[in-house]
Symmetry: C2
Subunit: 175 residues, 2 copies
DNA sequence: ATATATATCTTAGCCACTAAGAGATTTAGC
DNA sequence: GCTAAATCTCTTAGTGGCTAAGATATATAT
């Protein structure tokens, strides 16, 4: 694959476009939380529950990067809102599974309709083959970002002289 | 464009893959903020400043959906960290432009290197033509999400019976 | 059996956020 | 030009979600 000037420019354009759209995606999420009247983290957990199904409180902490204490708060609020249910694991009674309550959770799902419609509209202009390319890209991109996240976390444990020393505030908790 | 079962499945797969990768992108951002030792919103503002250049405090509030009071806090912290500078507009002395301090901001930029490398690796496998498709998609996707965000916000002002009444907590501020 | 590990919850304190309004400057109406 | 309204940022008080540390309950290992 050549590295002509044109290609470098193209790569930069792709990067910026991706960055913009992903930033706007974040804002959409914030708006959803806003309209639903729940905290951002609460919505994020609902999303994880939607993608992964029934998961333990501990796993929510792991995936979101929040402490278990914070997750207790999240689940308390979601449970009070009727969006999820706590279910003790009968084979290991320390564990608490969090399960969505589909009827209530659907109301949250409805807030994604504008987004889905917008995306539907965009996608409808692409052929099956083009969509497969996008799917491949999204899948590979996910793996890439996952690896990058791990690499970045690695910097925290790396020898101090190797990481950009920003000295902004006391070194925070390392997720 | 046909709507065969295969295509519907394909669309769903694309949607889920996009959702996953974008969720992971959010987590990457959180990790960056974490490593840099600055708040999430602070980083988001740095990102906007990078994309838009020199902008007013008010515009930061607009774009992020935060109140102007919150932005004051963000800019205070960023300024103290030396990442940005406040510059009063001489033609309209009410306005305050926020400008990045490139030398310091670069240190933040370095934290995106793992991400850029990962993306570079992904993109390197695509031809120029394929990249142009991705660019087109990202650009259209951005516009779509932007419109969807506006539509969702519209729900807030819509007749109450039209919006999913979630009754979770007191109706929050509408960005 | 006792000790150690694991999973969740509790508590105290912190910090970013909102809401409301003050201060400073500009624009509009007369 | 002068006053009133509008615009832009900052200030203040109060709220709520978050972390850190440790308590509680259950499971596993020696």
């Amino acid at each position: 694959m050549s590295r002509t000037k044109a290609r470098v420019t193209l790569l930069q354009e792709v990067e910026e476009a991706m960055r913009r759209s992903s930033a706007q995606g974040v804002l959409y999420g914030q708006t959803v939380a806003n309209v639903a009247g729940i905290a951002n983290s609460d919505l994020e957990c609902m999303d994880i529950l939607y993608l992964e199904g029934r998961v333990t409180a501990g796993r929510l902490a792991e995936v979101t990067g929040l402490t278990t204490g914070a997750i207790t708060g999240v689940v308390d609020r979601l449970e009070k809102a009727g969006l999820v249910r706590r279910e003790r694991d009968e084979t290991d009674r320390r564990k608490v599974f969090i399960a969505v309550v589909p009827e209530k959770a659907m109301k949250i799902g409805e807030l994604y309709v504008p987004m889905q419609q917008a995306m539907e509209k965009v996608w409808s202009a692409y052929s099956d083959e083009e969509l497969r390319l996008l799917l491949r890209f999204a899948t590979e991109g996910y793996k890439g970002v996952l690896a990058a996240t791990a690499a970045l976390k690695g910097l925290l444990d790396a020898p101090p002289e190797k990481r950009p020393d920003l000295k902004l505030k006391k070194r925070p908790r390392q997720t």
